[in-house]
């Protein structure tokens, strides 16, 4: 994948960390150095993707969605888009937004709740059939759409323990624009680009956190919750099986944004106890 890779706090085996943020860094710092250039690209007509990847408890949702005390990357991105639009008065812009969740290779439209959407390859473009899109004309309306989608997702997640940590979401902002200057000409070139915000599933190893989310110190402590019996048994029966990150629908959909002229940033969120995981994240 072309693009920048941002890692937090760890350098290993010759992998160079382009930017390193310590725990005191704010979302704003992450944003300024990482995502702003991508947003500028997107507004100018290039596809771009931002990934957040890391373990469930590492803070990546905080980085993307923000909290009461700090604005998330999404909000900063959206504000930036609208600022860029305003500073280009000689172009007309149209914004559309879609939001999907991928769980076990099944795609759900988080705006309507439809499940099992199909993906098709058409003219070198990857299209999800019957995916709904909402027009947005203000920053708040974009945030509202995401909140709406998150709510729907939350409902599905409460039914299955693993779903929230094992599914990915893609929030796509489609930016269409054309020049205002043409007078009555029928052939006006339209610029179209996608900005994808991808929240990747947690990467925790099966033998680490228990179902309650508490930390299971490897090699030492006992997990006191019987709900983690499955993890104990799994550990016993592992031969050479290892957890594979293999979700092909995800890469399929993002194909346009991951190839060629697309720019990509991956934000890897790492918590201190998981240095091993970080290595696998970097790979």
């Amino acid at each position: 994948m072309a693009g920048m890779i941002i890692t937090v706090a760890y350098e290993a085996k010759g992998k160079r960390a382009n930017h390193v943020f310590d725990m005191k860094a704010t979302n704003r710092d992450v944003y300024e150095q990482v995502t702003k250039p991508l947003v500028d690209s997107a507004v100018s007509g290039f596809n771009a993707t931002i990934f957040a990847y890391g373990q469930t408890s590492s803070g990546k949702t905080h980085t993307m969605m923000g909290s009461k005390t700090e604005r998330g990357v999404l909000e900063l991105v959206v504000n930036e888009i609208f600022d860029a639009i305003e500073s280009n008065p000689d172009r007309e812009y149209l914004l559309r937004v879609s939001f999907i969740e991928i769980y076990q290779e099944q795609i759900t439209d988080l705006l309507t709740g439809s499940t099992r959407l199909k993906v098709s390859d058409a003219h070198n473009e990857v299209v999800i059939k019957e995916l709904s899109e909402e027009m947005c004309s203000t920053p708040d309306s974009v945030i509202d759409v995401m909140k709406k989608g998150e709510k729907l997702r939350h409902i599905a997640c409460t039914n299955m323990n693993e779903r929230s940590s094992r599914s990915h979401t893609i929030f796509r902002i489609i930016i269409e624009s054309r020049s205002r200057c043409e007078t009555g000409s029928d052939e006006i070139a339209i610029q179209l680009s996608h900005l994808n915000l991808v929240d990747l599933a947690g990467s925790e190893k099966v033998n680490q956190t228990g179902a309650t989310g508490g930390r299971f110190k490897e090699g030492c402590a006992i997990n006191v919750s019987l709900s983690a019996l499955g993890k104990v048994i799994d550990q016993l029966s592992k031969n050479e099986r290892h957890v594979n990150f293999r979700d092909n629908k995800l890469t399929h959909i993002l194909r346009n944004s991951l190839g060629g002229n697309a720019r990509t940033a991956i934000i890897c969120a790492i918590s201190p106890a998981s240095v091993d995981e970080t290595l696998s994240t970097l790979r």
């Binding site: 030492c220 006992i222 019987l226 019996l229 048994i233 293999r246």
Partner: protein
């Protein structure tokens, strides 16, 4: 006077509230509870007596018992507030006081709780042998209760001076025992004693069944997963029993799941997983059977115990596949058919439409079942048919697979397909040899067939290698660690097939030999430059060298007869 019972209820409510403690002060309620309990201890020391509610004169032994109980609760709280060292001291003191009361009825459950807690602490301190010790003590203590008729008090009862609720107290006893089993299973895992760990996992599952299972699907899945441990160690009877238990549970709950839509998805998902576990069992059984038939030296695993069966008699209904190893093709086939049935069932959830990656894996598993069964088949023709079946199913999925997006899977499937053609080719050659011996003039069609298979094999391995080409169509000079062996093996195989290509045209033969030599030299060259490759191909490398020599000699002989 402080009533003991009120102390306990105060303790209970503080523990309940502790979940609401703020992140900045997470142990606030627990510290309060410690204070409260310590205060009570002081009172007991100062006043030498306590008010027990309606009991007239609590004797000294009861006070001792109460002290032990308080020390236990404080110890437990110290454990939860990260003071393991102090916790250990308190718990040991509590244990000795409890024993000093000589009142088994009142202190047995308390002692179980103390021992469980000590188990946790010792693990935290990485003292796993000590953890094992206390937990085993807890297990034998629990065993003693089987012969007792007395109703045993739980910790709360000690504070109330009587059994508050018999059901609660009884339940508490069983609950503590379940925890003991669960904890010791983990301890054994840390000690590297996997079969003991498996035993206790099984006992925990059994205990859950006896007490009533809350998450039935999870229970079934755990049984099925545990069976894989047993199967991989060749303990097939135990493996089968656990799988049967899983299937039994899934059938048992199938009706209530239908009514509840939310659970339906998860039910089908896990049912498919259990079916795949069965297929894995079948595969391992056939493979192990073959090992025994071949008298291959097999690592002998010791199962140090008899794994007790689950009490439900109904489970036997699901044990309809053998656990004994097969000695003949017919016996192996029975196991094979069961595995095939399971995989086909699993495909209804893991369908090509919805879950392609898993579907591809299942097809591979199916191919492996055939491969394992084929070893038992003695008839050349029938064995060939089996490999043809494998070829068909593997080629079918390659047709629908997007090889760029499913690269890893494609690599595996191509390689397996190539190996299948290789197996088939060996059979065709056998046939040719057999016909030659009979001086049968029908060798030609057999030879043509062998050639066709060889061609196909070369094509497949070539397409396999194409998957590794970069944008410029070249295979990178340095392959990743995982890729070295498959890529070099592919070249090796191509070399082999090319060298065996039959023709009456000497020019073509020389061409084939030369082409084969090229492939073998590639392997030799790569291994010369990479120690890792040399290690990975330690068996094939000498063959390459020999083949190069042999083929060069053959070419010479043809050119200069």
């Amino acid at each position: 006077m402080i009533e003991a019972a009120s102390v306990y209820s105060h303790y209970e409510s503080l523990i309940e509230n502790s979940v609401k403690d703020p992140e900045t002060d997470p142990y606030r309620s627990k510290y309060k509870a410690i204070c409260c309990l310590n205060g009570f201890l002081d009172v007991m020391t100062t006043f030498g007596t306590i008010k027990q509610g309606f009991e007239s004169s609590p004797n000294e032994l009861h006070i001792l018992c109460l002290r032990a109980a308080v020390l236990f609760l404080v110890g437990k709280l110290k454990c939860e507030t990260n003071e393991a060292g102090i916790a250990e001291t308190l718990l040991l003191e509590s244990l000795s006081k409890a024993s000093a009361t000589l009142d088994v009825q009142k202190t047995l459950q308390l002692k179980l709780s103390i021992l469980n807690q000590l188990g946790l602490i010792y693990c935290d301190l990485s003292k796993h042998e000590q953890a094992e010790g206390v937990l085993l003590e807890a297990i034998s203590l629990y065993e003693e209760t089987k012969n007792m008729s007395d109703k045993l008090w739980c910790v709360k009862d000690i504070f109330y001076g009587k059994i508050v609720d018999q059901n609660v107290s009884d339940d508490n006893l069983e609950s503590e025992n379940t925890l003991t089993l669960y904890y010791i299973a983990q301890v054994y895992q840390h000690l590297g004693k996997s079969s003991e760990s498996a035993k206790y996992c099984s006992l925990t599952l059994r205990k859950q069944l006896e007490r009533g299972v809350t998450d039935t699907i999870y229970w079934a899945l755990n049984c099925a997963t545990l069976s894989q441990y047993f199967a991989s160690r060749n303990f097939f009877e135990e493996a089968r029993h656990h799988l049967a238990a899983a299937s039994w549970m899934m059938e048992k709950i199938s009706l209530e799941v239908q009514e509840n839509n939310e659970g339906l998805e998860r039910y089908h998902y896990r049912l498919a997983d259990i079916q795949r576990c069965w297929a894995k069992y079948d595969l391992l059984l056939i493979d192990h059977s073959w090992e025994l038939v071949q008298e291959t030296p097999v690592e002998k695993h010791e199962l140090h115990f008899n794994c007790p069966r689950f009490p439900e008699a109904e489970i036997a209904r699901f044990e309809d596949v053998p656990f004994q190893t097969a000695r003949t093709f017919e016996e192996a086939r029975v196991i094979f058919l069961h595995g095939q049935k399971m995989l086909n069932a699993a495909k209804s959830y893991y369908s090509l439409e919805d879950r392609a990656t898993d579907y591809f894996e299942i097809v591979q598993e199916h191919s492996h079942l055939y491969r394992s069964l084929a070893k038992f088949e003695v008839d050349n023709g029938r064995e060939s048919k089996m490999h043809r079946r494998r070829i068909d199913m593997l080629e079918d999925i390659l047709k629908v697979m997007n090889k760029t997006l499913y690269l890893n899977v494609a690599q595996q499937i191509y390689f397996e397909l190539g190996e299948t053609y290789s197996d088939l080719f060996a059979l065709k050659l056998e046939k040719v040899e057999a016909l030659k011996k009979l001086h049968d003039h029908a060798t030609l069609p057999a030879v043509v067939k062998a050639n066709q298979v060889a061609e196909k094999a070369i094509k497949v391995f070539t397409e396999f290698l194409d998957l590794y080409r970069d944008k410029n169509g070249k295979i990178p000079e340095s392959l990743g660690e995982d890729n070295i062996r498959p890529v070099l093996l592919a070249r090796f195989y191509i070399g082999r097939f090319t060298s065996k290509f039959y023709s009456t045209d000497t020019k073509k033969i020389i061409q084939s030999f030369r082409s084969a030599i090229e492939h073998f030299e590639y392997v030799i060259q790569y291994c010369a430059n990479s120690k890792l490759a040399k290690d990975l191909l330690s068996e094939e490398l000498p063959v390459c060298t020999e083949m190069v020599q042999l083929l060069s000699l053959k070419i010479q002989r043809i050119v200069n007869p």
